[in-house]
C-alpha cells in the first residue's frame, strides 16, 4: 500500500470499511482448548454413567481428570497468547469470564461434596430406621447446577465472538439443565456428556478448521 496516492472521500470510506472488516476477520481461536475440555467432560460423564449403570467403581474419581486437564490448558493458553498478533477489546474480558467459570466450578464441587458428606450420613440413618430410601436424593440435582454454569461462559463467548456454534451450545446446556431437573441421574450424565460435546467439542472442531484455513491463507499471502 503506497502512502502518496490521492484519496477521494469515497476511497477513504471504502478503505476504512475494508480495514475494519480485515481486523474483524483476524480473530481466530485455535479451538484446541474447547476440543480438550469438551472431550474431557464428555468422557468423565460417560465413565461415571457406566459406573452407575454397571454398578462398579473405579479406584479413583474419574472427575480428577478435570484437574489433570488444567496442566495442558495452561500450556495451550501460553502458546495462544504468544502467537496472538492482535488483541481485541473482548479478549481480556473473555479470559476473566472463563477464569471465573473455572473457579466457580471448583467451588461448586467443594460445596456439593460437603452437602453429600452431611446429607449422606442422614440418608443412611433414615434407611436404617425406616428400611426405605430417603425421599430426597441430592445427587439428582447436582448435574443441573453444573449444566447451568456450563451454559453461561459458553453463551457469552458465542455472543461476543459472533460464533453461532458456541452460542447454540450455551443454549443447549441450559435446555439440558431444565430437563435434568426432572430426570434420573443416568439421563443427567448423558445430558452432561451431550452438552460438553455440543457446547465445546463441536464448536472447537469448527474453530480449529477455520483457524487452519486462516493460517493456510496467510501462508499463501506471504509467499
Amino acid at each position: 500500500m503506497e502512502n502518496e496516492e490521492k484519496l477521494s472521500q469515497q476511497d477513504s470510506l471504502r478503505l476504512i470499511t475494508m480495514m475494519i472488516n480485515k481486523a474483524k476477520e483476524s480473530y481466530h481461536d485455535t479451538g484446541i482448548g474447547a476440543i480438550m475440555w469438551g472431550a474431557v467432560i464428555a468422557v468423565c460423564s460417560l465413565v461415571r454413567l457406566s459406573e452407575v449403570h454397571f454398578d462398579y467403581q473405579l479406584p479413583f474419581d474419574i472427575y480428577l481428570l478435570t484437574l489433570v486437564a488444567i496442566i495442558p490448558q495452561i500450556f495451550i493458553s501460553i502458546k495462544e497468547k504468544k502467537e496472538r498478533k492482535v488483541t481485541s477489546y473482548d479478549d481480556p474480558y473473555l479470559d476473566y469470564i472463563w477464569l471465573g467459570f473455572g473457579i466457580t466450578i471448583f467451588l461448586l464441587i467443594h460445596i456439593s461434596n460437603n452437602i453429600f458428606g452431611e446429607w449422606g450420613s442422614w440418608a443412611n440413618e433414615y434407611r436404617n430406621v425406616t428400611g426405605k430410601q430417603a425421599p430426597f436424593r441430592f445427587g439428582e440435582y447436582v448435574s443441573p447446577l453444573f449444566l447451568m454454569l456450563y451454559g453461561l461462559p459458553t453463551f457469552i463467548t458465542g455472543a461476543a465472538c459472533k460464533f453461532k456454534p458456541m452460542l447454540w451450545g450455551g443454549i443447549f446446556c441450559w435446555i439440558c439443565c431444565i430437563v435434568a431437573v426432572y430426570t434420573a441421574v443416568k439421563i443427567d450424565l448423558l445430558l452432561t456428556a451431550a452438552s460438553a460435546v455440543l457446547a465445546w467439542l463441536v464448536p472447537g472442531v469448527v474453530m480449529e478448521k477455520e483457524y487452519r484455513l486462516y493460517k493456510k491463507e496467510q501462508a499463501q499471502l506471504n509467499v
Binding site: 500500500m1 502512502n3 475494508m18 480495514m19 492482535v86 481485541s88 477489546y89
Partner: protein, 95 residues
C-alpha cells in the same frame, strides 16, 4: 461549510493503520504490515508520524529475545478518527 479533512489521517496508509487500530485493543507491527501490504520501511515512517501527532502509542519490547513493536490507538487518536469520519460523511451527504 466543509471542514478540512485532517491531513494526518487523509493518507492511504495512515488511514488504513488507524482503521485497523480503532477496531482492536492493540496490534503488533507485523499484523499491521500483513493487513496493509505495506513495506516495513514505509509503515515505520507512517507509524512514526501518527505517534508524533499523538494518535497512537508505540510500545517497543522484547518477546522471546526478538524485538516486538505494539501499536495502540490513543484517546486523541479515537477523537481525531471520529472527527475525520464525521467530516467525510458531511462531504458525501452534501454532494
Amino acid at each position: 461549510m466543509f471542514k478540512d479533512l485532517d491531513p494526518i489521517l487523509h493518507s492511504q496508509l495512515r488511514l488504513a493503520v488507524m482503521s485497523l487500530l480503532i477496531s482492536v485493543k492493540e496490534a503488533e507491527f507485523i499484523f499491521l504490515k500483513e493487513k496493509t501490504n505495506a513495506t516495513a520501511g514505509n509503515l515505520s515512517v507512517q507509524i512514526q508520524k501518527l505517534k508524533e501527532a499523538g494518535y497512537i502509542d508505540v510500545i517497543k519490547q522484547f518477546k522471546d529475545n526478538y524485538p516486538q513493536t505494539i501499536c495502540k490507538i490513543t484517546t486523541t487518536g479515537i477523537r481525531a478518527f471520529e472527527e475525520y469520519v464525521k467530516n467525510l460523511q458531511s462531504y458525501l451527504t452534501q454532494k
